[in-house]
Amino acid sequence: MGTERSDLTSIAPKKTSGINRHMGFSWKTYLKRYWTLYLLLVIPIAFFIIFRYTPMSYILLAFKKNNILIPPWKVEWARNNGFQWFLKAFKDQDFIIALKNTIFLNLLDLVIGMPMPIMMALLLNELAYPKYKRITQTVLYLPHFLSWVIISSITLRLFATNDGIINKLLGTSIPFVGNPNNWRGTYIFLGIWKECGWNTIIYLAALTSISPELYEAAEVDGAGRMRKIWHVTLPGIRSTIIVLLIMNLGHILGSEFDRPFTLSNPQVTEASKTISIYVYEKGINGQQYSLTTAVGLFQSVICVFFLLMSNALAKKFGERGIW
């Protein structure tokens, strides 16, 4: 991107000067000169149209009768002016439970899970011995590459109420995954364990952009380690933190499938049933495509709302936001 732009500014003005001095360049000129680049752009655009936007036409199904045999625009409208499925979902106790769980688990993830990689990045940043730092980082990334299916079976070996290694060692029988509240804790803990290391990458990248001069200046002023972290490092990565916070808020109603599904068991369903599992049970197993499309659409709308709101808030407090 960088080189393209410099090309434009360095070459283009020479040949078109005079004609477009005040108006900028006409799109025809651009197209004529850089048509190969635009041609290249056609591929990703086509990708998005075919694989992202065309399938979105099936969103219509949320307002239509349950029928996947014909294109959604040909299907009859659902009852209640098309809102039949939305009304049905909100009357369904099961959905309400799933909705509550989704929000609750995501909030816990946000509040407990988000500061962790920041702290971890700060700690890593303070490590003086580079080789040790590199090895630590690599080890921390590893869990990210394990699937939830594997993690869930390791979890049971470790945390099972009676046969689990931890309980055997402690000589106790704590139901780590056997009662809803403990399960939530284990769920959050495992999420942090798996993704924390990986999520430090972006903060570590941001940390490298902080000018060393600031640290030197702070040192001259007599700042210790903690002071430097508080007054130099954290403000230096503040915008990164805000961007990630906004993105996370955008996911507040989004839900992963593998994590709650593999970690769940019948003793804790009231805590572990999330919207994704609801959609799986009703939509995939029960062929209720319209109902579950409606649920998915509701989920997306709320997510977009949160995204816009948090972005607006960030801008209000003087940050750049994400666009």
């Binding site: 029928n67 106790q93 046969d163 689990g164 056997g178 003793q267 369903t269 009703k282 029960g286 062929q287």
Partner: protein
């Protein structure tokens, strides 16, 4: 009442008229054969077995293709669909208008859901078979014989509209669940095989109290009785023994939605027994945490488990890797699970509630994109003939089997092209699940589990069905509220059972009742109510709760 009745009649008439206008006899079908070659596609499960063959092209498909071409001049092409993702795969194929001409699934509601969808021309997503079955009755004698009569051909016929969306497959062997116990442990403790619930309980207590004797240094691993979270299946015989003997068919129908019998009156008392056992340390403590059977199987194979209930052939399945043979290798020659039948109901009978031979297995349907309904029916009939089923289940003499002196088929280990991707080739014998070899069936079954003594196999099979009660079939058409729940109610059921088994004895009632209330609110009550309504509407039976 009269008005409703006449309305129904008019509607039914209109519906039949509509059907007859859409239906046209196939003129290219002369003297039982097509004049020009027809082409159909047929669904076949892909199980992706290690060392298996291409399910769409192997010696068995060659046999079927050749047979169909010679007999009816029909060319058959197989389309593979993932066994464990069949519902999703079929949904995608239907949406893509490329579903196989002959499709099959275990899910009744799946087919009904598509029958309720309409395509571009306003036709249902599934072909109504009624007119074809009527017109070509003479050509589908094999299906009718296999199903045990014409009534069963119309098993799913809608009582109001007369539509037939599917043909039922047959479950040739209805044997279901059997109780197994470690004979060697009983011998060691000087106990006989339990014949009552009390004796069974005493045996479990003896296992628990003699863990040192039985397991030595592994005494802390003792599991007198094991179950999974599918408590309804894995403890069925105990639970239904609490259902009264004189329960009538209407009640069984009204409370019959759940295939684990959750709603049967009295069932809760069976779960109460499990709750008591659990709190006395007789049941595997951590069963509620596992979603699959690997851990439990390992416990059984390692020899830590005293007793369990499961599919009648569970400890014999998987050849060399089966539970009983593993047990012998790990523990000793005499270690083995043997079948018992000890849970009597109030009349002293070991009553079991069975899935009928017809109505509880796979269902075959023709999607509306099928342009060869007749050729498809002929295919279904072809694979239902005893010779074809026999060939698919046994194969070539000398290559796949040898005959024993008493007339049983001794199946030989298959290699290369002859490997069957599914047990007894059930994926190809779509209409028939289970050995169907006439008189040789029983003897052959006993020989199907190498390494396991024949008498134990026969006993287990027998216990899985003796005193079995087959609830009457009420054909009431589609029950709307059942098509909408998906798997959410069965998930809830497992939750009810698991949580109430692990609850303390004092809390059992409150846990069970509150969760059952939630189940009812999630759609359980609607289903019961609709079943009562249908009973009244179709059969004129007023059911008093």
């Amino acid at each position: 009442m009269k008005r409703i009745l006449s309305l129904i009649l008019v509607l039914a008439l209109a519906a039949t008229l509509g059907i007859t206008s859409a239906f046209a006899a196939d003129e290219g079908f002369v003297d039982g054969k097509f004049t020009e070659t027809r082409h159909i596609t047929v669904e076949i499960y892909n199980r992706n077995n290690d060392g298996g063959t291409d399910p769409t092209n192997n010696v068995w498909t060659e046999y079927l293709k050749k047979g169909m071409l010679e007999k009816y001049n029909v060319e058959v092409e197989y389309v593979s669909v993932g066994r464990w993702s069949e519902t999703d795969d079929i949904a995608q194929l239907l949406a893509d208008h490329s579903a196989p001409d002959i499709s099959y699934t275990y899910g009744y509601n799946t087919i009904i859901t598509y029958a309720n969808m309409k395509d571009e021309n306003g036709n249902p997503g599934v072909i109504d078979l009624a007119p074809y079955l009527e017109e070509y009755k003479d050509y589908i004698g094999n299906i009718i014989t296999l199903l045990g009569g014409e009534d069963n051909l119309y098993y799913d016929k809608d009582p109001v509209t007369g539509e037939v969306w599917m043909i039922e497959g047959v479950r040739a062997d209805t044997s279901r669940i059997t109780t197994f116990i470690r004979k060697d442990w009983l011998d060691k403790l000087g106990l006989g095989l339990p014949t009552t619930e009390e004796e069974f309980y005493n045996a479990l207590v003896a296992f628990r109290d003699n863990a040192e004797t039985l397991l030595g240094e592994n005494a802390d691993k003792m599991i007198p009785y094991t179950t999974s979270t599918d408590i309804g299946w894995r403890n069925d015989l105990l639970a239904v023994s609490k259902v009264a003997e004189d329960i009538d068919d209407n009640t069984l129908f009204v409370y019959g939605y759940d295939d684990r019998h959750l709603l049967y009156p009295g069932y809760k008392e069976g779960i109460r027994v499990l709750n008591k056992w659990y709190n006395e340390g007789l049941i595997w403590k951590d069963f509620g945490l596992y979603n699959d059977s690997t851990q439990e199987d390992d416990n059984m194979k390692a020899g830590y488990v005293g007793a369990f209930m499961h599919n009648w052939d569970y400890p014999f399945r998987n050849g060399e890797d089966c539970i009983n043979l593993n047990l012998q290798r790990n523990v000793g020659e005499d270690a083995m699970f043997v079948p018992i039948d000890c849970f009597q109901n109030d009349a002293g009978i070991t009553r079991k509630f069975m899935g009928a031979a017809v109505g509880s297995d796979r269902k075959i349907f023709l999607p509306s994109t099928n342009t060869e309904p007749l050729a498809s029916l002929l295919y279904i009939d072809f694979i239902s003939s005893p010779e074809v089923i026999k060939y698919l289940q046994t194969g070539e003499e000398g290559v796949n089997f040898t005959m024993t002196e008493d007339g049983a088929y001794q199946i030989l280990p298959a290699t290369g092209d002859w490997i069957k991707n599914s047990g007894n080739n059930i994926d190809y014998t779509m209409t028939c699940n289970g050995l169907y070899l006439g008189e040789a069936t029983g003897k052959t079954t006993a020989l199907s589990y190498p390494g396991i003594p024949a008498d134990i196999v026969i006993q287990a099979n027998e216990y899985g069905k003796n005193n079995g009660r087959y609830p009457a079939h009420f054909n009431v058409g589609t029950i709307e509220s059942e098509t909408e729940v998906g798997t959410s109610l069965s998930e809830k059921r497992d939750e009810i059972f698991t949580k109430s088994v692990i609850a303390s004895v004092d809390e059992f009632d409150s846990v069970y009742d509150s969760l059952l209330d939630a189940y009812m609110n999630m759609g359980g009550q609607d289903i019961i109510d609709e079943r009562i309504e249908k009973l009244q509407e179709i059969y004129g039976i007023t059911y008093e709760k």
